[in-house]
Subunit: 187 residues, 3 copies
């Protein structure tokens, strides 16, 4: 092997090793998102008086509860259906970039927790597509993680984790969530 | 390096590069399903009179609505539970190859949209296993995509996207969906 | 190429081929979990009399049913919300290692089946994090599989399959599920 051949060989070797390694460990243990975005959504719960503004409604409740007053034991058993505006900042009146649609289920008797199943339907110049979320939400915890289990359009086949923070909570009527979307599988 | 060694080297180089590249870009950006199938399912909503035939029922509704008449504002807040026959063609009376089971949630006040969470439970000579779906369904759009987030049996660990089209819609009682299942992760 | 160079070349070639191949076929067709655990959870359904002990409640039911007596046709249409203790063994009174939270939906008229959407929220010295489940549950089948579609914390981005067995069933009030969690994608 001549000097040039050896040099060439070393370059090829390094390149292939890099490719093979980066492929073998593709996305593992490094926990760095391949794509991320921060969005807010705004939920106004129907309370019997705010039909015009409400973006969500309680549609199921345990025995003895009704559909306008949230259930007594930390809302245990309430299912709410929502269609909430998504915005780029924390202002309810900013131009929506999409809708958060699905349901939340209050599922603990002795504290506030919910099970979430919903989609972000994004329809803006920046993003076209849907993102599907699923997960347990221990509401009183400052920052909590749910799963991003799939996507369509711009988010075709994406998976990841979303970190949720309650950005505002006003009585029983309004709350705003900050959603930090971190994709770890991008296509 | 002799001519033969060089030739050998080039072949090995090409082969390794091909492997490394095809591995690095494994399944990415090509968007070609590793498996696909087209199925139909048929939903007959209980309306208070069709108990014998109905395959789904409204089980939750917002305040002021009831469980046999779909809710007033584009059905906002209705949750329906279903157990619908799946067929290979668009004929309700074809031999079912499985059941579509789960729920749909009408979630917009000013148009028809739903959030879907359901499974296909397939049990035929061709397919044994389940496929789990999740997603936003803008019902009035001709063709819309939801996520396939997992599977079992023949569809063990599969992921993909399903393109849904409303194949028929008869009043408030019957609809038929055509589901084009496209798996992009097969095991 | 000298003898040593050739030897070196062969080693590099083998190593790279191994890496490339093991990467190309990464985890496919071998069906061996990268992580697995067996857990139990315990569900005590509210029946109008056991408010103190109940861990779940029916919150939706079809027309004609109510929220304390499970619906007539194999509970078709009932949605139950639950917050059930998870234990390492089959003893309801063992120290819980977390909570199973979410909902089950009875979805067949002529047999017992359910659609499940729930999370395991684990909080013990061994495990910190959540696991998200989704799937069809043909309750009367001894062993059935549902999908694990995501996770957070210790189960960050994990996917897999869970094999569920009804470990005990006492009337309409108590059941215990054995959940064999098998992750096939670990991060």
């Amino acid at each position: 092997m001549g000097a040039r051949a050896r040099q060439y060989f070393i370059i090829v070797f390094s390149f292939l090793t890099f490719l093979a390694l980066s492929s073998a460990f593709q996305g593992k243990k490094q926990y760095k998102p391949c794509k991320s975005l921060i969005l807010f959504f705004h939920d106004i719960i129907y309370n019997g008086k705010n039909a015009a503004n409400a973006t969500s409604a309680i549609v199921a409740a345990p025995e003895g509860a009704n559909l306008t007053i949230l259930a007594g034991q930390f809302r245990f058993g309430n299912i709410a259906v929502f269609d909430d505006p998504i915005t780029l900042d924390n202002n309810l009146h900013s131009k929506p970039v999409g809708r958060a649609q699905g349901l939340y289920v209050y599922d603990t008797k002795n504290t506030f927790t919910a099970w979430l199943g919903f989609a972000f339907v994004l329809n803006s110049t920046d993003h076209q597509g849907t993102i599907n979320f699923l997960g347990a939400d221990p509401i009183l915890t400052k920052s909590r993680d749910i799963s991003i289990v799939g996507g369509t359009g711009d988010f075709f086949m994406h998976r990841g984790v979303a970190t949720i923070m309650t950005d505002a909570f006003e009585g029983d009527v309004y709350f705003r969530l900050r959603v930090h979307i971190k994709f770890y599988e991008c296509w």
